[in-house]
Symmetry: C2
Subunit: 339 residues, 2 copies
């Protein structure tokens, strides 16, 4: 396949090669040549599947046209899907994404930030790990363009993309209450991360608003590094209580999937014996015999917003922090009973 050149695009658009180059490499200045013409040129570039020459562009602009992405655990499909979305959106903007996975390890996170910065990325998108506040604060003082996604530190004023964790959890638990459930347990992570704590708060407030707050907490916390054993203990405790849990709210997809595997081994029937709601989607939750009701995060919109906010910093040199909080959707399926 012949490589498409700027000249090919110029010929098709009926303009000069210089103008095409100007449009495709200087997005921020496109107002000068008219939006319509700029859009026409970009459209032709897309149609012809134009592949910009990164090195030539870099020499001209001093940019690397590369974004660094650090996710918390690449083996978790939630992050795999976020990575995929960010990559697609970056590609649309002629950026390449290179990424790393911190595996929820603060030292690895520090390593990755330094490795990616040394590799001259133009900016970073990060799902920060617990305890990485200092790293994030330092990035801010270094004037590195970056944006957080999924997680954030409320005390550090930087740009981030998140969802309304409190309201999403509140709505999920309220649905269980509406379905007549009285002993609603929750399994979350033992963590200081704000997004998980907001989900706990939503659970708590939904129970309180419906006068269902139990004397002994039905909220169980699992350690990330001891997930399976802590989940077993939690579920055993919830089911063997004097008033056994009749519903469970899982704070993440990983907790739900591991939890359901264990619930299956106990012969507990969903939803007859136990209703289930979880955060996050997953193939496993679709194929479960009782498809699981879940809080759908707008992953595609989140990824797009992260790239947009980052490119605003890189290209348009925006200095203001952008905090974007998105709404979720409760997708109701069989796992909470008939509705």
């Amino acid at each position: 396949m012949k490589k498409v050149s700027l000249k090919d695009i110029a010929t098709e658009a009926g303009v000069s090669t210089a103008l095409v180059s100007y449009v495709l490499t200087n997005k921020e200045k496109e107002a000068r040549i008219g939006k319509e013409m700029a859009e026409k040129i970009r459209e032709i570039a897309r149609k012809l599947n134009y592949q910009p020459n990164h090195i030539a562009r870099s020499l001209k602009s001093g940019r690397s046209y590369t974004i660094g992405l650090i996710v918390a655990d690449i083996s978790n499909p939630f992050f795999g899907n976020i990575a995929r979305t960010i990559e697609d959106e970056a590609k649309r903007n002629n950026y390449t994404v290179i990424f790393g996975s911190s595996d929820e390890n603060v030292d690895k996170s520090r390593d990755l930030i330094s490795v990616l910065l040394n590799r001259q990325v133009d900016g970073l998108i990060i799902t920060p790990t617990e305890g990485s506040e200092q790293q994030i604060a330092q990035l801010k003082t270094m004037n590195v363009p970056f944006v957080l996604i999924d997680r954030y530190f409320p005390e550090i004023p930087v740009s981030y993309i998140t969802i309304n964790n409190y309201q999403s959890a509140y709505d999920a638990v309220s649905h269980l209450i509406k379905m007549g459930k009285k002993q609603i347990g929750m399994v979350a992570y033992k963590t200081s991360l704000q997004h998980i704590n907001e989900r706990k708060r939503g659970y708590h407030e939904a129970l309180r608003d419906h006068d269902l707050l139990p004397k002994n907490s039905l909220l169980k916390l699992a350690r990330y590094a001891h997930l399976k054993e802590d989940l077993k203990t939690a579920i055993d405790q919830l089911r063997n209580a004097k008033k056994p849990a009749d519903a469970l709210f899982f704070a993440t997809n990983t907790l739900a999937i591991e939890g359901l595997k264990y619930i299956n081994t106990l012969g507990i029937r969903v939803p007859e014996d136990l209703a289930i709601v979880t955060f996050d989607e997953g193939e496993a939750l679709d194929l479960f015999y009782s498809p699981v009701t879940f809080v759908r995060q707008p992953i595609m919109d989140m990824g797009k917003a992260a790239v947009r906010v980052l490119l605003d910093q890189i290209i348009a040199a925006k200095k203001e922090t952008a905090v974007i909080c998105m709404d979720t959707e409760l997708v109701i399926r069989k796992s909470c009973g008939n509705h």
Copy 2:
């Protein structure tokens, strides 16, 4: 947390700082100081969670201590798990991994190879996409250390890690035959990639060896970019045939999961109406009402081998190509009937 220094390790081991540095940065020469002492020092470094200073090490050695990994689709948990394994193993060798996802797109693959090489990675691990033969051949002429994993091009003699695709498929289909199935369909990708074609060959030979080769092929091919629609057509054709398929062999986890979603909507019962076997594991296959029999790839061993072969090229400057072919395991569960 105080950063652990070479001196801390030296004190604990009762040796000089120079010796510790020698061991931790010159693996290839460790024979000179004795294997036992080298192992002791590394053990202490691990225990104290020593984080080497990448920049200082790079200046000394001319290496970046970074590996580039290019997977075919990061949103596929199979590749997410490979990435995670490679990262863990690289970390054990004090290497950091940065990765990219080619999304089965040959242009994106070319971009990523050039971006990662420009970022001075010491070597590459690649799951090559269809049509990237030239890129791989070029890497070879450039003397870049690299190794392929999962996929390979038989006509290009480079190092790669693979599994015995032919035998694995042969065994999976033979199991269906042993369970009394007569009309065994297969759904694979329409691709020139050798690993998929070897799986088709295994299917074909297993049928032939048991005198079950049908006149009209029960082998259906789906296009990667039109997965869902092609799967529906394939399954409809297989089920509506004069002699409907009584068993299905899926060539990958993605095909199996999408296929099972569609099969569910048709009210087909597994294994009563249709027995199922697939390549690759997945949470969704575990949580399916009839847990799916699958070919387990030794992902962890594959990832470890890829890192080892690559580091042999980088550190020990090995020139011979290493081809490692691993065996798989057929994990038998409910989806093929009682056994």
